[in-house]
Symmetry: C2
Subunit: 344 residues, 2 copies
């Protein structure tokens, strides 16, 4: 049996209870200062007594602003994105906006569905980290979309907040070279990902700068996951001569690599050096040397771009690229006696 819920208390109920009009109640609810203190007080009392709950949906319909922002990420189980989500949700929340979350799991069809569903809601705007390879094709052609801002990975035709990936991995290489390393691998980036391409090119730039020869075996492509990092490092170790250090696509890959290292009795920092990317919370706890891209800052930057875009839809396209920073911890160390070096 369906228990019927009590009828909703509306503005009209409050208005008649307080002896004012609906418009006045609305002013009180929205904290418009032009209401006389005495009136406001009476209204507030009625609201409390009748347990009135504001109906945002109705307000949205009339005001044409839902105060909801869609947030689409490509993999919520990736701690990097989890940190971004928290930051965005906090940031938007403090601006009085609600976040509607969607996770694509790198699935383009799901991304389309989410974009559509959020447009229909309708969300006032959408923040998105596009799925791998959807930079050109990710936006549905038919149907109007609210303002959109991409983060972490760019997307054609919309604003973008990202990281200077090239400089990031260049910093990583510089650091390793400074510690005496000469054979440095780059592991874990899926070649189709723009960010991986950028990090790879920074890696090559770092090598060139020090006249170190690049060999293609040193680029071990893998999924950007813990498992990916694990397998990538095992492959890298089988090369001959083997590398003595690795720049990883991200921190999660780095942890997988460390796992592999330890499984073979090698200690990171002493026997092999590892640099991560992003500086997620676990990197701090796990003493990982990494490139700090301040995920939280990135999220806030993207949110700001979106807020501006909503305010001024006609303004020119904007890109904000944040500068990364090297954070040295214990997963990197001076090159010890290098057996391969002498053998060759």
């Amino acid at each position: 049996m369906l228990a019927s819920s009590p009828p909703r208390v509306t503005l009209l109920d409050i208005a008649s209870d307080a002896g004012v009009s609906r418009a006045t109640v609305s002013l009180v609810l929205r904290n418009v200062p032009s209401v006389a203190p005495a009136t406001r007080k009476r209204v507030l009392q009625s609201i409390n007594r009748l347990r009135y709950v504001y109906h945002r949906g109705a307000a949205s319909l009339r005001s044409q602003r839902s105060h909801a922002i869609g947030l689409i990420v490509s993999d919520i189980t990736n701690p990097f994105f989890a940190e971004i989500i928290v930051a965005i949700e906090d940031w938007l929340g403090s601006a009085g906006l609600v976040t509607i979350l969607g996770n694509t799991s790198e699935n383009l069809a799901k991304q389309q569905r989410l974009l559509r569903s959020m447009s229909e809601y309708p969300a006032d705007g959408i923040l998105i980290c596009p799925t791998q390879g959807s930079e050109k094709t990710g936006l549905p052609t038919g149907g109007r979309l609210p303002p959109i801002v991409a983060f972490t990975r760019p997307m054609d035709g919309v604003d973008y907040a990202g990281t200077d990936n090239v400089t990031g991995s260049e910093l990583a290489v510089e650091h390793l070279v400074g510690l005496g390393h000469r054979r440095i691998a780059f592991i874990g980036g899926p070649a189709q990902l723009t960010s991986a391409q950028q990090r790879f090119s920074g890696y090559r730039r770092g090598l060139e700068k020090h006249a170190l020869e690049y060999r293609k075996e040193l680029f071990v492509e893998q999924l950007p996951t813990r498992q990916g990092g694990y397998h990538a490092l095992i492959s890298a170790l089988q090369l001959s001569p083997a590398p003595t250090a690795a720049v990883c696509f991200n921190d999660v890959v780095a942890f997988g690599a460390i796992e592999a290292l330890r499984g073979r009795g090698k200690e990171p920092g002493r026997d092999f050096s590892i640099v991560g990317f992003n500086n997620i919370a676990d990197a701090r706890a796990g003493s990982l040397t990494t490139i700090d891209t301040s995920p939280a800052k990135l999220g806030e930057t993207a949110a700001d771009l979106l807020l501006n875009r909503i305010r001024d839809p006609g303004s020119p396209l904007r890109q904000v690229i944040l500068s990364p920073r090297l954070v040295v911890r214990e997963s990197t160390g001076k090159l010890q006696h290098d057996s391969n070096e002498s053998n060759q």
Copy 2:
């Protein structure tokens, strides 16, 4: 300058374009079968041509169903919750519902704000993992709330989907005892958390069953984080006699403990045994012996409870407790020669 967006295409536009009434268009949009195929086709063509976008908010106002579900978690950066979120979002998405996410970071005030904001939306229902210690007081007293279901941690007065924590850690202890361990620590549970209390009591029950004495030093309370696990294990190792194995509050704590172990040159499974709790994705990748609580299944169960509660608000309170399962991997092993044993 504010660029004015083109006026919204509404049902009325479609209706006049297709030469039917708004009601008919509405029937087509909602896939009501009673529409003549020819009419439906004409309407669909107009929809495509005019790039009409359905307005869920308007529909919600009229139908009194928003098709939005609020999801409040206590820590989104915890992979356990991330997995639950993905599962719930997928599950609800396939039922045509949108998920509105909120993260409390274990902050009661934030939880209250989120509950309010989601009620105002209004969401059709709310799924919540209450913040630590908010089981009794978590629900705001004034103001009406939509149907609510708690998961992972119970909450007074609402439906609940959880895990049999007592049996879970009992299984963990049994496993360790079977491997020859006698001094087993329990680490990382904050004592105020109901789930920690339950897991602790299962741990004690396991000890009792095998007539093993419990000593309070073996319960090392800590934050349920990687850091917490790290520090807890270091404390545990300083006991004398030191434990040879540990049951951890969750997988993340277990990884912190393993970190600490390796930092002191000990290999998990060989020199010290570790059992996690939850079986998150990283547990698989990291060869962690753990108690599988199937996070995804838990999320779906909670979602189902909520869907039922929405359908039938008057039905009696329900609790669903899922049974955990031991998964043996490589972080546990037979007790080796135990130096302390002979020394004592």
